[in-house]
């Protein structure tokens, strides 16, 4: 297993290098450069600008610039935001807790929904309940998240007034108090449901089919013959076997949540990484934009790696090839 994991991680390195080169070249292809974030905006003397360009390494050959950029990135130095006039790393660190909070809540919602629906549908397949769950899943899969989000705001925030429609926490609350956390949960619940519903359908469908398949296997028949209670067969014998393949979904969820977060954070004006990314694009804040692009690509790569490794854990045959 260790050998397989190490091989996967080494296999990821060329991919990482290629992606970093692409991101770097894209950054260079951007109209304008990140210089304006580093220099004194009031000093427009051409000599001063030329001197700063030289000093900051904008005149170096491309490979040198690339290695400088990689060195900076690894050390957590992402340059300075041209809009906020502060280091991009600080800007990102400020937003990351919000996005992580949103991602974790949405995963939690996915698991709760998928497990309750999947177990029910798997236990009573081809009944009305199963068909209703199947239909709901189908809708969840087909309706785009941004349409679901817009309708959710319209109905639950504006017409019913149940949830706030913007922000991540009410202003003026003391950090760390109970009210503060309740307010955060109140703000995150709607975006998390919209984001979480995205992944629910595939989980539910997988769990349902796996439970049906397992319930026909010999070990279940044996358990039945011994007189084990039906609920125990389903909740212990079958579920344990059906959950194992599900953990491989976790890695792919990271990629889904990244893309989903950009959309949901924008709809709910939730101050996270996704919203920061879109704002940086509209305001031509290239250093911020490139740092987030690289960061999100890195996360996707890590997500795929986790999925790969979990596959190896679940299915030992994969480790061999």
């Amino acid at each position: 297993m260790l050998k397989y994991t190490i091989r996967r991680i080494i296999g990821m390195i060329p991919m990482l290098l290629l992606i970093s080169i692409v991101v770097f070249l894209l950054a260079k292809a951007m109209p304008g450069d990140s210089l304006s974030g580093e220099i004194d905006p009031n000093n427009t003397n051409p000599e001063y600008i030329a001197e700063m360009r030289e000093k900051l390494g904008y005149n170096d050959p491309l490979p040198v610039q690339y290695f400088d950029w990689v060195k900076g990135f690894v050390q957590g130095d992402f340059g300075k935001s041209t809009r906020y006039k502060m280091p991009v790393s600080d800007l990102i660190m400020e937003r990351i807790p919000n996005t992580v909070f949103l991602g974790v809540s949405s995963l939690l919602i996915t698991y709760i929904l998928a497990f309750s629906m999947g177990i029910f549908a798997g236990r009573k397949p081809y009944t009305i309940g199963d068909h209703v769950i199947g239909g709901l899943n189908y809708l969840g899969l087909a309706i785009p998240s941004f349409i679901a989000g817009v309708f959710a705001i319209y109905i639950f925030s504006f017409n019913l007034g149940w949830t706030p429609y913007a922000g991540s926490v009410e202003v003026g609350l003391q950090e760390g108090t109970l009210d503060y956390w309740l307010s955060r949960i109140h703000h995150v619940i709607m975006p998390a449901i919209v984001l979480g519903a995205l992944a629910t359908a595939s989980y539910t469908q997988f769990l349902r089919n796996d439970i049906i398949e397992n319930s026909r296997k010999d070990f279940v028949r044996t358990a039945r013959a011994k007189g084990t209670a039906t609920s125990k067969i389903y909740n212990v014998h079958i579920l344990r076997n059906s959950i194992i393949p599900l953990i491989t979904f976790l890695g792919f969820d990271i990629a889904t949540i990244i893309s989903g977060a950009i959309i949901t954070e924008t709809i709910f004006t939730y101050p996270g990484i996704g919203q920061l990314f879109l704002n940086s694009v509209t305001t031509n804040d290239y250093p911020t934009m490139m740092a987030i692009t690289m960061l999100l690509s890195l996360l996707t790569l890590v997500g795929n790696l986790i999925a790969d490794i979990l596959y190896g854990v679940v299915d030992p045959r994969i480790r061999l090839d």
Binding site: F146, V150, S259, T266, L299
Partner: protein
């Protein structure tokens, strides 16, 4: 035993010599949900294409005296904040959304099939190289890179084609993987060995012998891709990074809902595109499910 008799009964009902595609067509025509969906999608396409003949309103005209009118009277679905007729924009928007969807799907399927079938047929080094390239493309977070590429290329080429190119460039990976796995399984058959041994060129083996046999998978994959890409286009339009704002598309129309007052008080501006988009995507998905079912020899419906 029960299954066997059921199969035999079915066989007696059907004419004996039906090609797989004839059987599939029969199954598809009997699938009510898929037929209703096809009818709806076809109507949407026809109405969108004929938009200039159905409505005579000028889509670009900004009319300050008719801002944010409620539905009814001269404007069936009301007007938006710039005084443009929502119904007219909905028709023209359908044109763009469907055009982007169809063109991207065509490019994605074309490229994915070429890469997938070459990788699957040749195997070995070619396969390794092409599949690593596919992995590489699949590793980019789609939305992030579409937005970044769009920003760089915007202004250099016409906005609509930039979007089509960028979306297609980043989405063919999944199709390539699926086609490859199908080709890998199909080429183990003896008729392929026979075709190679009588001296068919690889291009002919792929085009004449392999592709027709994986065509059903490609068709199903095309419907799924079509739905996904329409969603992608409208999501980008909604975020403000799709086709240029001057061109109406369903996504661009939906982006009006980002203004709180439109979202809260003027639902006629954003609800029509939201509803028509959802129904269109649902119907494409139903058609896809119907096709999948029709091509599946194990299903007896």
């Amino acid at each position: 035993m029960v299954n066997v008799t059921a199969n035999e009964m079915n066989r007696q009902e059907k004419p004996i010599n039906m090609s797989p595609f004839a059987i599939a067509r029969r199954k598809f025509l009997r699938n009510k949900l898929a037929m209703v969906s096809s009818f709806f999608l076809l109507s949407v396409i026809i109405i969108s294409v004929l938009a200039p003949y159905i409505t005579t309103q000028d889509i670009t005209k900004v009319n300050i005296s008719q801002m944010s009118l409620e539905p009814g009277g001269e404007h069936v679905l009301g007007t938006d904040k710039s005084g443009r007729d929502v119904f007219t924009r909905l028709l023209y928007g359908g044109r763009i959304s469907l055009l982007v969807g169809v063109t991207c799907t065509f490019l994605v399927i074309l490229f994915g099939t070429i890469v997938g079938s070459i990788a699957g047929f040749y195997g070995g080094f070619v396969d390794g190289l092409l599949m690593r390239f596919t992995d590489f493309v699949l590793n980019f977070p789609f939305l992030v890179f579409v937005i970044v590429l769009n920003t760089i290329l915007f202004g250099i080429v016409n906005g609509l084609w930039v979007l089509i190119g960028v979306i297609s460039l980043l989405s063919w990976g999944g199709v390539a993987r699926i086609v490859r796995s199908k080709i890998l399984a199909e080429k183990e058959n003896e008729y392929i060995l026979a075709a190679i041994s009588i001296g068919c060129k690889p291009s002919k083996v792929i085009m004449k012998h392999l592709l027709p046999n994986v065509l059903s998978t490609i068709i199903v994959q095309a419907t799924v891709t079509f739905a996904t890409l329409i969603v992608a286009e409208s999501a980008l339009g909604f975020l403000g990074f799709g086709v240029p704002q001057s061109i109406p598309s369903w996504g661009n129309m939906l982006s009006a809902s980002q203004e709180a007052d439109v979202l809260r008080d003027k639902p006629w501006i954003w609800m029509p595109p939201a509803i028509i988009l959802t129904i269109t995507i649902l119907s494409i998905n139903f058609i896809g499910e119907g096709l999948k079912d029709a091509f599946n020899p194990k299903s007896n419906r």
